[in-house]
């Protein structure tokens, strides 16, 4: 994308005013998306994003500028702007010599999206529409989206790092509406992988569409969810987002260092039930949050955050690690070249326990079984969170019985970690997610085995 000698000259210019650190992050991304709604392919969109962000750090101050002009002149203008933002006077010339790292890739790509005809991509959406509508006469609306992207990134910094990565992703999402006597209900499904178009050989989009339709149809006869505190069993592969939101964010070193985390100062302490081991893993090939290198040029890692209930480590980016005099953990990520990197998760998951999932339900007299958790949000300071239950059932006398209407699940992250009392042996990863933080979205994965939380607040309307 940019020659090594150009990068060296740009970095030299960036630290000429006395900064300690400078970095060039360049990106070239091509993407295709298509949407179907109301039985029509609405449109196919092609996108091209290309540019570089230049970061200059002096003391506690970071200056940042970005440009869509990848010529040496364009990069030098941005470098000068970033340097000016980070410093006032002083300086000298520092020669920068880059050490080009061997390419590090997680997983492989068999069919690049650019090599797949657009007609084949669009056909995926038609197959979804047909399968969902075939699920029953009560299905009144289907919408679906397809997206793929091929992003090449290059990172070079004044510490000599020069690394590249290529991230190829494909995703489908679908939403199905069913109509009945008591109004309309919706069902959702999605699948996303950090691979090429071969992901559509690995699973059936028809099965996903039928599952989304089944959710919507099931909810037509759903009764109002109970309200109040109850035991909750969360199906494998659907509750990982809860650990991402309610625990993962609190383990990001930038939040911890400012005291904005309930986990500050808790390293080495028991913060979860001893059953629980929580991991963040950028190396999980093919998963939505997988990366070869992070957006600061650091090779992705498998990081244990909580081991047997004990907090072992936080997640780190370059700046926070530098401040603490330790190594970064491959968690420095950004949405695009227009954004500053910060501490972000990759694939975050809870490792297997030993229980059979059926036994977990059988051990529950009265409670709620969550078969699909929706989006949510968390207050990282208090740890309080809220998640939607998009598919849930009542558990009565150890059996899953009636479907429940949508409602929210509310609890407190640290408390949930302590309240996990049964952990299954059926680990599965969940749907592709986009994690938002400080206005930036990055792709993340999550996962967990079936598990039970002793008590969560169900926000239904039934007494």
């Amino acid at each position: 994308m940019i020659d090594q000698d150009v990068l060296e000259r740009v970095l030299t210019a960036a630290v000429r005013t006395g900064a300690e650190f400078a970095e060039v992050y360049a990106e070239d991304k091509r993407s295709t998306s298509a949407s179907l709604d109301d039985g029509r392919i609405e449109q196919v969109t092609s996108g091209r994003d290309r540019g570089a962000g230049i970061r200059v750090v002096r003391g506690e101050t970071t200056g940042f500028a970005h440009t869509a002009d990848l010529s040496e002149r364009g990069l030098l203008v941005a470098a000068t702007a970033a340097a000016a933002a980070a410093s006032r006077g002083g300086g000298g010339v520092r020669e920068i010599a880059l050490d080009r790292q061997a390419d590090h890739r997680v997983g492989s790509v068999e069919r690049y999206p650019d090599d797949v005809p657009k007609a084949t991509k669009v056909d995926v959406l038609r197959r979804i529409d047909d399968a969902a509508r075939g699920a029953g006469g009560s299905i009144v609306q289907v919408s679906a989206g397809y997206g793929d992207s091929r992003k090449r990134i290059l990172v070079a910094n004044t510490e000599g790092v020069m690394a590249t990565d290529e991230q190829v992703r494909a995703v489908v999402r679908m939403s199905v509406v069913a109509s009945g006597d008591a109004g309309m209900q919706t069902g959702f499904q999605s699948m996303g992988r950090t691979t090429g178009f071969e992901m559509f050989d690995e699973f059936s989009v028809e099965d996903l569409a039928r599952d989304a339709a089944r959710q919507a149809l099931t909810k037509l006869s759903a009764r109002p969810a109970p309200s109040g505190a109850l035991p909750v069993v969360i199906k494998h592969g659907t509750g990982g987002v809860l650990f991402h939101e309610a625990c993962g964010h609190g383990l990001e070193a930038d939040l911890v260092s400012k005291g904005g985390s309930v986990y500050k100062g808790k390293q080495g302490q028991l913060v979860a039930a001893p059953l629980v081991t929580l991991v963040d893993d950028g190396t999980m090939a093919g998963e939505w949050g997988a990366i070869g290198i992070d957006d600061e040029g650091h090779i992705s890692q498998y990081n244990v955050l909580i081991e047997d209930g004990v907090l072992t480590d936080y997640m780190w980016d370059y700046l926070r690690a530098r401040k603490e005099g330790r190594k970064q953990s491959g968690n420095g990520r950004r949405q695009s070249y227009m954004h500053l990197p910060m501490v972000r998760m990759t694939n975050t998951y809870v490792l297997n326990g030993t229980e059979e999932p059926d036994d977990i339900v059988r051990a529950t007299d009265y409670g709620v079984y969550v078969a699909k958790l929706g989006g949510g949000s968390v207050n990282t300071a208090s740890g309080d969170f809220v998640f939607g239950m998009t598919e849930a059932y009542l558990i009565e006398n150890g059996e899953i019985t009636e479907p429940l209407r949508e409602s929210n699940l509310m609890g407190n992250g640290p408390q949930v970690l302590r309240d996990i009392d049964l952990l299954g042996n059926d680990f599965a990863m969940g749907n592709p997610g986009t994690c938002g933080k400080d206005g930036q979205g990055v792709p993340v994965g999550d996962g967990q085995p079936t598990l039970r939380v002793k008590s969560l607040t169900i926000g239904g309307t039934a007494a």
Binding site: S46, R50, A82, V122, K258, V386
Partner: protein
């Protein structure tokens, strides 16, 4: 966007693209250029200073009822040419749609608004840093229990141009700025976060003291909060919370959802869908609205639309596509998230017609209730198709007309349909917020609170 002569350079680029349209082809070019400054201060130092410019073009091509789209994040000639080629290529894959088409001039005049401040454009960098530092200082002195996470100054200036082969040709520019501070308060056992902000077309409109006070209050007011017992009660929503709900209700009046059978207000025009106290308008021509604008995402004049009048559903909002499908005219509600996408439909500046009494008077009438000061999980917790909602909340209990202790970790639930009918009173305390809806206190009876 201010529809004046500025941005003419961008209009030239758009003109060049649409001039390449061939017979039987409709082409739209949307070009934008933004510049942004963001200063973040922490413990008296600048933590980061971002100075950024971005530009790009989105091109829509329609032929035989099929739509194709492509964008490029640069105005480089080659990139613009290949975006046009890609958009044309993409046309072949769309399904023919008899309603597909670009907007056409509709004769509605633009309400001229003052959306550009020369003073802000010339505002010195050092003063931006100083404002963020001052906000941090003021917040720390507002309450000794409060720490500041970060204090920020941000401004953005944008120029846009849109031109179509159907005769739309508009350009303009606008700028604005805001300060925001994030806070934390803890008493050893628990911590809570808060925020405060101030917005304006120019920095002299900031109220830093109010931002600091809000940020301190929001963080400290929940210290010692308990979990309330589950029951049905009356809820008074703080203006900020009401605004969040209005955004969701606005979404259910979206003409595109209506056309696709997804609106819970389908076939309800002319029906009583809310308490007679509810009058809801979308008015981007009101200069007090933060999101005031003079043109919509397709280049049509922005205008005032009355959606619910005295509880009766009067109108949905439309862009030119959804309007054509519904057999009506665009209400000037095309919304577009920059050059990377095609226009959707959305409300631009919602406002509930205010009542006359302040929040204290609304509270005085409640025997058992809760003042909801913040909600969580609004987007995951509200299903705009079924209307079911259940959101996490925190606030203060109300007993016999008096405010009581703080409560948290509970949910409030109902349906949007019920909630609109159950409105007891709209307050007179309108608050213009940096959102697509204005805030006002709102009392609603008979919601389910789930707690302990």
């Amino acid at each position: 966007m201010s529809a004046r002569s500025e941005g003419s350079e961008l209009l030239e680029i758009a003109d060049k693209v649409i001039a390449q349209a061939t017979a039987g082809e409709q082409v739209e070019a949307y070009v934008s250029r933004d510049s942004e400054t963001a200063v973040r201060v922490y413990e008296g130092n600048v933590e980061h200073f971002v100075s950024a410019q971005s530009e790009g073009i989105g091109i829509r091509v329609i032929r035989d009822g099929r739509t194709g789209f492509a964008y490029a994040g640069t105005l480089d000639q080659d990139a613009v040419a290949s975006a046009l080629a890609e958009a044309r290529d993409n046309v072949a894959f769309g399904t023919p749609d008899e309603w597909a088409g670009l907007a056409e001039p509709d004769g509605v005049d633009i309400v001229d608004q003052d959306l550009w401040s020369d003073e802000l454009a010339a505002f010195a960098t050092d003063r931006k840093i100083e404002l963020a530092k001052e906000l941090e200082r003021l917040t720390l002195t507002a309450d000794s229990r409060v720490r500041v996470d970060d204090a920020n100054y941000e401004d953005v200036a944008s120029e846009t141009a849109v031109a179509t082969t159907t005769g739309i040709r508009r350009s303009g520019r606008e700028n604005g700025c805001y300060v925001v501070v994030s806070t934390l308060a803890d008493d050893g056992d628990e911590a809570h976060s808060g925020f405060g902000f101030s917005v304006g077309r120019s920095p002299d409109l900031f109220d830093l003291h109010k931002a600091a006070r809000d940020a301190a209050d929001r963080a400290t007011r929940l210290l010692g909060a308990t979990k309330p017992t589950s029951r049905r009660l009356t809820v008074v929503l703080d203006p900020y919370v009401t605004a969040s709900f209005l955004s969701i209700i606005g979404g259910t009046l979206n003409g595109e959802s209506l056309a696709k059978g997804r609106s819970l207000f389908k076939d309800r025009l002319g029906d009583e869908v809310a308490s007679p106290l509810v009058t809801l308008v979308d008015d981007p021509t009101n200069p007090l609205a933060y999101t005031a604008t003079d043109i919509d995402g397709e280049g049509l004049a922005a205008r005032r639309n009355s959606l619910i009048e005295g509880g009766v559903l009067r109108s949905f909002v439309h862009n030119s596509y959804s309007a054509r499908r519904a057999g009506t005219r665009s209400t000037g509600n095309a919304v577009r998230g920059g050059f990377k996408g095609t226009p959707g439909v959305g409300c631009l500046a919602l406002q509930l017609a205010p009542g006359t009494r302040d929040q204290a008077a609304l509270i005085a009438d409640v025997s058992d209730g809760v003042l909801v000061q913040s909600v969580q999980g609004l987007h995951s917790g509200v299903n705009p198709v079924s209307g079911d909602f259940s959101v996490g909340a925190s606030g203060l209990l109300i007993a016999n007309g008096q405010l009581g202790g703080p409560v948290r970790e509970f949910t409030i639930a109902s349906t949007l349909q019920r909630m609109l009918l159950d409105v007891v009173e709209v307050g007179g305390d309108v608050d213009w917020l940096p959102m697509r809806a204005a805030g006002v206190s709102l009392a609603i009876r008979d919601l389910t609170m789930s707690g302990a």
